[in-house]
């Protein structure tokens, strides 16, 4: 995973992500303000009323507003994918492309509505679910040229990294391993229900920043923790933990075992406490998602619109 482009280029600490977004917003706000001043200075016949209107309504959006607005549209990407009946992985990749794009570009430069379809189209290609541009444009009631126009912008902003690791396969992996580790202690039908619940919750996490701060397996374990804390903690304890008194014994034994590689469980180099704390953090982040109302989105949209076209005011 550490060799993957997802880890190398698209994993950040919370601080890194915040400063990245803020720097982008500041840079573009300056450009927008400059452009506004330029327009105002070119139109010295503007009335005071018109000037007031521009100063009041053509206001660049803040970083916070941008992030909410992008997430608002990311949800539209998701619902578009569902209306097109696209496979889970394709939808997840489309959302990932879309959200990453706005880590590199501001909504004040390119409106999210233009990137929405290009992200889905590129995700279909990238995930071997190819839909020709004509058919895709027809299904989405749009123009082929518009979609193709932004395809390269998306590709370039992604720094040409297309392979995504989503938490769905890890979910399947843990579904298997839990059966083995908690051998005989889990009811299969119940496990099936857990699987379904977690899959749905994973889909929700794709719209949040957890995808930048945690690895897919950690996100999966956090979703499992939300769904059944007791089962998940039990599994992790049996899998990665070992009671303190045994800790010494297994360490020495572990040394011995290193010399004689056997097929018994190898001491994991993973600290249960660290992992559990990490998953708890991720869990908290998943549960604390704020969504943008349609009214708020409309307000932000208006700001974007007037920033792009102040003379309309």
């Amino acid at each position: 995973y550490r060799h993957s482009s997802q880890y190398r280029l698209w994993s950040f600490t919370k601080e890194q992500l915040e400063s990245r977004r803020r720097a982008l917003n500041v840079k573009v706000v300056d450009k927008v303000n400059e452009k506004l001043q330029d327009i105002i200075s070119k139109h010295n016949d503007l009335s005071q009323e018109e000037l007031n209107a521009i100063n009041e309504k053509a206001v660049p959006v803040t970083m916070e507003e941008e992030l909410k607005f992008v997430n608002f549209f990311a949800k539209k990407v998701q619902s578009f994918c569902h209306s097109l009946n696209l496979p889970t992985e394709v939808c997840a990749t489309a959302i990932s492309f879309f959200r990453r794009f706005f880590l590199v570009n501001s909504t004040m430069e390119i409106h999210p509505k233009h990137i929405l379809l290009a992200s889905i189209f590129l995700a279909c290609k990238s995930e071997n679910y190819f839909i020709g541009i004509e058919a895709f444009a027809k299904k989405t009631k749009s123009q082929p040229t518009t979609i193709l126009k932004y395809e390269f912008d998306v590709l370039e902003s992604l720094q040409f990294t297309l392979l995504n690791h989503h938490p769905y396969r890890p979910l399947h992996g843990f579904f298997l391993d839990i059966q083995y580790i908690l051998h005989g202690k889990v009811d299969l039908n119940y496990m099936g229900q857990i699987y379904t619940n977690c899959k749905r919750r994973i889909t929700e996490t794709l719209l949040t920043d957890v995808v930048y701060h945690y690895t897919p397996p950690q996100i999966t374990l956090a979703c499992l923790l939300i769904d059944d804390e007791a089962l998940t903690l039990k599994y992790l304890e049996v899998k990665f933990g070992s009671p303190p008194e045994e800790q010494k014994e297994s360490e020495t034994e572990g040394m011995k075992r290193e010399e004689t590689p056997s097929d018994t469980k190898l001491p994991s180099n993973l600290k249960l406490q660290t992992l559990t704390a990490l998953i708890r953090e991720c869990q908290a982040m998943i549960l604390n998602v704020e969504t943008l109302s349609k009214e708020e989105a409309t307000k932000i949209d208006a700001k974007l619109h007037y920033c792009q076209n102040p003379m309309l005011l």
Partner: protein
Amino acid sequence: DYTKEKKAGEGTYAVVYLGTKKSTGRSIAVKEIKTSQFKDGLDMSALREVKFLQELKHVNVIELVDVFMANDNLNLVLEFLPADLEIIIKDTSIMFSPADIKSWILMTLRGVHHCHRNFILHRDLKPNNLLLAPDGQLKIADFGLARLMASPQEILTSNVVTRWYRAPELLFGAKHYTSAVDIWSVGVIFAELMLRIPYLPGKDDVDQINVTFRALGTPTDADWPEVSSFSNYNKIQIYPPPSREELRRRFIAATENALELISGMMIMNPKKRWDAVKCLQSQYFQELPEPTLPQDLP
């Protein structure tokens, strides 16, 4: 930072130039993807090359040095690899030994293993996609047909792999094949290195089936359960599998372990066919002669 000094070749969707990375003086190849050619935007082959080469970093897989857009064209900057195995095989003035063959097959299998452990199928392994670096290292190239291992219920196209290197399950039109198709291709390449001529050169897709089974025997349900369920199974000629003696005569320079390996790579039933790990751990690579060091290869 890159120059395009000489046109090295032109394909359907790309022009390849030789050049230099100015900041380091390193020789590079620039694959310029014509973006206007493909009415559906970025060409699928280019997209696959970029997608998988970005994730693979291995001495036996071609390195993607950089990717950039220029004048509306997508440019892939790849490491410069002046030769390939096809050139070596065809140039009969070049003598090579069993140790050389062992070295090339070992490097090929290491590169294939790296793809497979990343769950990437190459799906177009053949001698001219196995490029040779100036230091002798062999590198797998051209990921234009590559894809991730299928999700369980996903349907795959069987129209992949250049015909002579195409596995029997693909010839039958299988839709749920695995990385075993790449191992088959390596088996055919291994045979070609020993024979210095193509091993299974079918004239067309139908003839390919015939050539393959005439050489290796027609599979039956006994050794390949449900093979008879393929729609075109009934039209094929039944041939007996070759005896060990026949294989020895075919590959006179091959040791018993070499025959063991090539047989393992070309087991008809993909489920039983050896995977990359089993090939790499075979006796063939543990017996003498040792594989030639890359820098000493022809």
